[in-house]
Amino acid sequence: MKLRKTLTSCLQFRRMSPPRLISKPHKLLDKILWIIPLASFFVIWEAVVRLGLLSVHAAPPPSKVVIVLLHCLGDFTFLSKVLHSFLNLTVGIFVALFIAAPLAICTGLKNRVDLTLTPTVMICGSLPDLALLPLFVYWFGPGSVAAILMAAICAFFPIYFTIREGVKEIPADYFDVSMVFKASKFDVLRKIVLPATFPNAVTGLRLAFDFVWEIVLAIEIIARVTGIGWLINFSVESGSIELAFAGIMAIGIIALTVDRLVFGTLEEKVRRWT
């Protein structure tokens, strides 16, 4: 239920049109505005540590973390760990997409299928994913298989519910149009259902991408599956806090890059017509 609430609020957020500016928007300025709070955060952090308000051992200054991170970029182990996590996560999301999307389209189109399946899906979705973690590690061993499956389960629900919502919202007239022109079932799917739900699918994937990081890191930290989470945990345990921070920063950079490049581009595409 909580998940559903988050989803609906996210969907509503997407539907809100961007604020209309009376003056012509400053293109470049608007594009870099987001840097200001982020930069201030790092400056304050740096200052707090430099002024001795926080111990260097507890939290190294960001400048130092950046240097460590730059060093790490040439380090094969570090890169392979990051890549490992990222692959587990991406494969997990795709597995979820390939199961959730067809299922959501079925339940979205056929009310009877929806009434049959969705309550069960909702119950499963409201269970905490973490509860399954030890079981999956027990069944599949502490490796990529368990990580990918956990990621897939976590990604399944946001993708399923957003796409189902999208299919249900397709106006009945669209189907009448397809019938008037005698479109085949396949054409209805390809030329109406899929494009009509595309915006929702993008939202679902974006939510899934945010949710899945948590579970992938959790399995790496708790079950010691190899990946960036494992590296952060290991660094903290062995006392190299800078490395742990470098790992966290790497995750942040990846998340931001994917968000801007992949989802930003997809949403730009959707915004042309919505």
């Binding site: 106006p171 149009v177 008037v180 022109f181 005698k182 494009p195 042309r272």
Partner: protein, 277 residues
Amino acid sequence: MVLHMELLNVTKVYPSRSMETHVLRDITFNIHEGEFLCIVGPTGCGKSTLLKIIAGLEKPTSGLVKFQGEAVTEPHPKISMVFQSFALFPWRTVLQNIEFGLEVQGVPKKERREIAMEFVEMVNLKGYEHAYPKHLSGGMKQRVGIARALATDPEIVLMDEAFSAIDEFTAHTLRKEVTEIWLKTKKTFVLVTHNLEEAIELADRILVLTSTPGRVKSLVNVTLRRPRRRGTSNFLKVHRQIFRLLKEELEQSLGHHHLALHHPNLHHVGHSNYFSF
């Protein structure tokens, strides 16, 4: 005129929990080839349902719809439709929307593009062919809807309240253009509307339906010369004639639901400040 489409005793019943609702009862009339037929009737008389049955989108509970002598049980490639809500696909440009019918009917890309461009010009949307529907006004959207309906070269174009969701000024222009298209293409047009002036302006014949359940009240021939202008004495004469028919229906249905007027909620509304001058 050549007999084009026949409706024989078309009845539509919707089953509901407590009782069956008769939407249409024993509708029998013909549609002639090349005519402009308008269907008018009080709200909720099943006009739109009737149009959907003609389109093959809905099946009559009993009765028969025949097109060129053959029973219509599903949409026919020669029967096309324009929707009140426009029903354009927002992810398709104007041109792609117009192409939709041809596309699903397997017309090669180059050919359907040429045909679509032809219709872009016919509905005066040149310059907008690559715009998305969100950038179009209501009137322009309906032009796309009309072009899409015409692009598959139908013999009958069904229009469900096609001008109702457009502001009156634009609708006025669009009706003129539709008349021109109708005269030029010589296709059969069937328009469902609740706007009586609109029906008189456009129609060769007007089918007046009774209130629920919809039956054929009258089929009125409109012999006014075109282009028709509202406000001329002949126009008003036809208007009065049909208005009387509709008023009869309205009064009858009010009499029928006489009890509803004494419903406490309605009573309350009747005494609210909005109604006391």
